[in-house]
Amino acid sequence: MSSPFLARNRVAVVGYAHTDVVKHADRSLGILALETAKQAIADAGLRTDQIDGFTSSALFPSAGNHAVEDGISTVSSAWLAQHLGVNPRFASGFQGHGQLPGSVALAVNAIASGGADYVLVHRALHNPPGSYHGNPMQHAVGAMQWTVPQGYFGPLAMIGLTYNEYLQRFGASPDAMATVLVEARKNGARIPWSYWHDRPLARQDYLDSPVLVEPIRRLDCDIPVDGVAAFVLTSAERARDLPHRPVYISGYASGSPTRPRSPLHWPLDDLYETGAETARRLWEAAGVGPGDIDLPQLYDGFSPFVYLWLEVLGFCPVGEAHLFVQNGGIDSDSPTGLPVLSGGGALGNGRMHGVPQMLECYLQLSNRAGQRQREGASIALACHSSPHLGGAVVYSTTAFS
């Protein structure tokens, strides 16, 4: 029996800022991150010199051969702190999958332990010129030598293999995924900063979308974008003195090692078995279960993740998410639907890597969602990446013990 999670609801999100999500920004990612960080700090009612912790993930999630340059294609916590002109007590990057939940976890640990008082968590995503995942490599080394010569490469093939295993095992129709896309784009269309603002998707548009790596269609993939989000976290005690309603972090969990696999090889049973452990640890840390979650914001960078998270987190039985979705189960406008994509997700905002999920949790629970404000949500969940390698965070309006 592991120790109880001592930081439950002892750290809160107290402010945020978010850029517009665009195909290509007219300024560098570093400059956008600096401006967004300053806005988030001001939004929290703080001064830059009060920020003594920075966490993030600087992963640039492209399979292409683009140069990775801090301040240009990615922005690390160290870069951001240096360019803000502060010398934090704690600046760290999360290295695993589920980059945003992992970054939140680092921040919670630092604050709850007294390692930092005010932590800026940010994520900066870049869309380079040219093909995002295309790679002109002539030689494959490392793990890629086992699959690249056959043509197996990049995240579309990776998720395609998992998704086809799902479709075949459970007899799901690929067309059922249209419901996920329509739902994500319906909500994304209502969000002023979204790349897809005012652009909902018709079911037929999904069905007409080209199949790139069968069964993955182009529209099953989020669109690469430039965008930055920043959140300010502090202790529940300090949060009481700040202008916005605190949103407490009840617990978090990150994925665990699976069986030895090639990095792009995600057999369906790995996602279920290891994902179940991610979920178990999340509920144990947060002290809640799936029935308590009013707002489960599920990761959808590739649409099949929605099915897998629905099942792994226990919102529907394994193998039935495709039916759950088709029966109106994720319609955020229905009183009986689970609002899993009410924030638009990645498919309705752009490739913001877990930001739309966390942002929707924060906006709804802090009562700052404006015209999109939902009634009665008090416990929310944001997840990112896959259930077996990624992570999730539970948020709450109250600091229950």
Binding site: P149, Y152, T162, E165, V213, I216, R259
Partner: protein, 96 residues
């Protein structure tokens, strides 16, 4: 190199011949490749195969039967190497 079962750092692995027979665990069909040199081969069927001798050993290779081959989970396949260059062969498969 670490043994995935006992985690010993010097597991003393040796090569063992296998039958080349296996079971289909999943597949994808590439209609677009993100790598050079595949465009003229499209569509390419790539299969995920569990070897008969050890089911957690998986190989991914082209299915040489083409995109219209009748595939189901559990289909039996057999290895058929592709010679990419005089000294380079990679595993491919055909329906058994």
């Amino acid at each position: 190199m670490v043994c995935p079962r006992c985690h010993h750092p010097d597991p003393g692995f040796t090569f063992e011949p296998v039958s080349g027979e296996g079971t289909l665990r999943s597949w994808v069909i590439l209609h677009q490749s993100f790598l050079p040199g595949f465009d003229t081969l499209l569509p390419v069927v790539l299969v995920d195969v569990a070897l008969d001798e050890q089911s957690d050993v998986r190989l991914i290779g082209r299915l040489l039967d083409g995109p219209d081959a009748p595939l189901v989970l559990g289909s039996r396949v057999r290895v058929a190497f592709e010679d990419l260059a005089p000294d380079i062969a990679v595993p491919a498969f055909t329906l058994a």
